[in-house]
Amino acid sequence: MGWIGFAIRITKVDQGVYVIEISGLRKTYRSRTGSVVAVDGVDLSVGEGEVYGVLGRSGAGKSTLLRCVNMLERPDAGTVRVGDVELTGLTGKRLRTARHGIGMIHQHFALLSSRTVAGNVAFALEVTGTPRAERKARVAELLELVGLTERAGAYPAQLSGGQKQRVGIARALAARPQVLLSDEATSALDPETTESILRLLLDLNRRLGLTILLITHEMTVVKRICRSVALMRDGRFAESGTVAELLRRPGSELASGLFPLGGPAGLDGATVVDVTVSGADADAPIIAELARRFDTDVRILGGAVETLATTRAGRWRLALPGTPQDNTGALEFLRSRGAEVEVAS
């Protein structure tokens, strides 16, 4: 119980304290047939207790970026700091010690098939040099944390995908890391299992103050647990920021990814506007109020209100009869209610 008890603290994301700081990161893979620039100058800062998502298509360089954080891949240029440690300069024993403070979970779980659930968690403790006498209690504590106490004696082959990932998470937390790296941890899972694993990660983030840097190609993962997100393309960050910021950023690709608006961007005789609200404003009846106050036959062309990891947010595409000039007052009203308004046509 000890560790879990002590480690519970209120998570405060302090923008001033970055647990992971990456700057100018570059990694090129060379082979006989040519070379691939996998990461092409990435700067990234992850605050303490933050859940940071890197979103991108397959081949964007996400895995390479993540593997550079714990030096599974050696970057060609740039620096990587985790906690107080600058990792790019480390080798041997000092690198291995630094790695104890960085947990990692994997898309295909990467468990030892020859060991039981308990044995897999114990392996991580053996690696970090936990005395034999302490291991058993600690294994039990970790399995409890991920809800796998009953399956301690099972082999990975006897587990479901979600259970395997729970073992992966327990193992990653064995050395009490400050940071968890997640390489597509839910990509091999079905939607319900994905949801349960994301809930567990969010729970660990909140209870243990665990900082999580995850990479994914699934928007739902970002929606569900990320406070900040970056869009990666061709080895670079095309866009990044907190989800709340991005939603208010005109023309943000990530925002339209998070909230696909649908509906036509232009309509004869009407002004089409995209309206974004977040926080408490998301649930205010501003559209009804708009219709009443301006006596306008506003139409909703598309949109949704959703609960994101850190905020409620709503985004709609509306059609207001008349030209933009006719609707100046209506748009002013929406802005006065905290909405980000963008005129589409």
């Binding site: 790695r99 990692m104 990467a110």
Partner: protein, 218 residues
């Protein structure tokens, strides 16, 4: 030749074969594991990349495997004499058995170790495990069922080679079968030899299969 005369000679011959196969298997296990592990470690992208050493090991292994056993045996007689002081008899036969079987087993070890998924090794590395831990607790342990199946095949191959070695002055069941069964047309001697070998191979295979199955949790 009566059956009892056959059995009288069959006993010592079987013991000689068991000795040759046993000792050769033991050395082959050690040698094959060493070379196989070293080969995988020194690969490009391995835990201890050393392409020149890797190429050299690959060459040695391929060379050893491409020479037919009979030719290998006679061509290394000077080396055999250097090691055991003689080039005939059971002990002398053990040397070419090892030289022939080590490359064979090394290649099997390499294949078995490659079966261990790369992300399992990466996961251990990410945890901060050192090379020794990764080789011992991840690579060899995860590959153990495959290594045991492969070693079973190796013991059986050594048994086959040992009969060949026996037929050209090595002693054991091979010598017995040639001397009595073939040269003196003793059908009983030949039958008995074949039976002993079949039972032995069958036993080795059964034990190997059992162990491999017990240890596999895939």
């Amino acid at each position: 030749m009566t059956w009892s005369e056959v059995f009288e000679l069959l006993g010592p011959a079987s013991r000689e074969t068991a000795w040759m196969v046993g000792v050769a298997s033991l050395f082959t296990a050690v040698g094959g594991l060493l070379i196989g592990v070293l080969f995988v470690l020194t690969e490009r992208g391995g835990l201890l990349p050393a392409p020149p050493l890797n190429a050299l090991l690959g060459l040695i292994v391929n060379l050893g495997r491409s020479i037919p056993f009979l030719i290998l045996m006679v061509s290394i007689t000077p080396f055999t004499r250097l090691v055991v002081g003689t080039s005939i008899g059971t002990d002398a036969a053990i040397v070419p058995l090892i030289v022939g079987a080590v490359p064979f087993f090394a290649r099997i070890v390499e294949t078995a170790l490659h079966e261990v998924p790369g992300d399992v090794v990466a996961a251990a590395t990410a945890m901060g495990a050192g090379r020794g831990t990764i080789v011992g607790k991840v690579l060899l342990r995860e590959a153990l069922p495959g290594l045991i199946s492969g070693f079973t095949i190796t013991i059986i191959a050594i048994t086959g080679y040992s009969a060949m070695a026996g037929s050209v002055g090595g002693g054991g069941l091979g010598a017995f079968a040639i001397d009595y069964g073939y040269n003196r047309f003793e059908g009983k001697a030949m039958t008995a030899t074949v039976l002993v070998l079949v039972v032995f191979v069958q036993l080795v295979q059964m034990v190997g299969d059992f162990l491999a199955r017990r240890l596999s949790h895939r």
